[in-house]
């Protein structure tokens, strides 16, 4: 692996994570959202795995991809419950105005999707890379 690529990959990894978070929260009112953000973040980890090795990327992720997927799914699921309690309707979201900030349980749902996408994509990508390395 070229030294330029492996050095820059660390920088790009951080950049991609930041952009993915920006995409995630931008999706609240504008194009973007958990799915796109999750894909970008997953690409960041994939880049790390490509430049160094899968073990490095797994260490950077800290948890197992499937566990991340489960946690995200759980978060998305829980975000639908408040609506169930108040309106008897799952995924009817709660909204709160804090100053000019317009927040709701939909954001929690999006964060859940973000984690599910990272986990799901990385689960496959890591497996494929490891398979090729063998």
């Amino acid at each position: 692996m070229s030294i330029i690529f492996s050095t820059m990959s660390r920088l790009f990894f951080v950049l991609m994570l930041v952009v993915s978070l920006y995409m995630l929260f931008r999706g609240h009112n504008e194009p973007g959202g958990g799915f796109v953000g999750g894909l970008i973040a997953a690409l960041g980890f994939a880049l790390l795995a490509l430049a160094h090795d899968v073990a490095t990327a797994r260490r950077a992720l800290m948890v197992h991809p499937v566990a991340l997927m489960g946690a995200g799914l759980l978060l998305a699921f829980l975000s639908g419950l408040p609506g169930l309690l108040s309106d008897r309707s799952f995924l009817t979201h709660w909204w709160a105005e804090i100053g000019s900030l317009h927040l709701g349980t939909a954001t929690t749902f999006d964060i859940g999707v973000y984690f599910v996408v990272i986990g799901g994509v990385l689960c496959l990508i890591f497996r494929l890379y490891e398979e090729v390395d063998q």
Binding site: F35, G120, V121, L124, R127, L128, E131, V132, Q134
Partner: protein
């Protein structure tokens, strides 16, 4: 205009089915990809082809303007693309794994499922 799309769908579909009938598992996979792309195009055409404004609700209003495009086919295609992406990625991993395990990409040589519990004796002897 629809006719052009119809021919495009037909061509894609034809290529997809042709690849699907191949013995090479990677070609089969590509066939599935082509078929699902053709399906997305089909939904796109069936949803009505019109050149209009994007379906975005303008600031300060509650409803879509009358001239906006129908957002539903777009949502359907988007969903289908996402699901197709996941399935193709999964299938690709499966194909790679199968190639590693069986040492062949040809379906004619991937016969382990048939050999398992076969009623014919010769193969029983071979597989113990």
């Amino acid at each position: 205009m629809s006719l052009v799309y119809a021919f495009a769908i037909a061509a894609q579909m034809g290529c997809g089915v042709y690849l699907l009938l191949s013995r090479h598992v990677v070609r089969i996979l590509l066939g599935v990809v082509l078929l699902s792309a053709a399906t997305n195009l089909l939904i796109f055409v069936a949803g009505g082809l019109v050149f209009t404004a994007p379906p975005v609700i303008a600031q300060g209003t509650q409803m879509l303007g009358g001239e906006a495009a129908n957002p539903l086919p777009q949502a359907l295609i988007l969903t289908a693309i996402v699901i197709g992406f996941a399935l193709v990625a999964f299938a690709a991993a499966l194909v790679l794994k199968a190639y590693r395990a069986m040492g062949s990409v040809f379906t004619s040589e991937q016969t382990d499922a048939e050999a398992l519990g076969t009623p014919f004796d010769a193969e029983v002897a071979r597989n113990g």
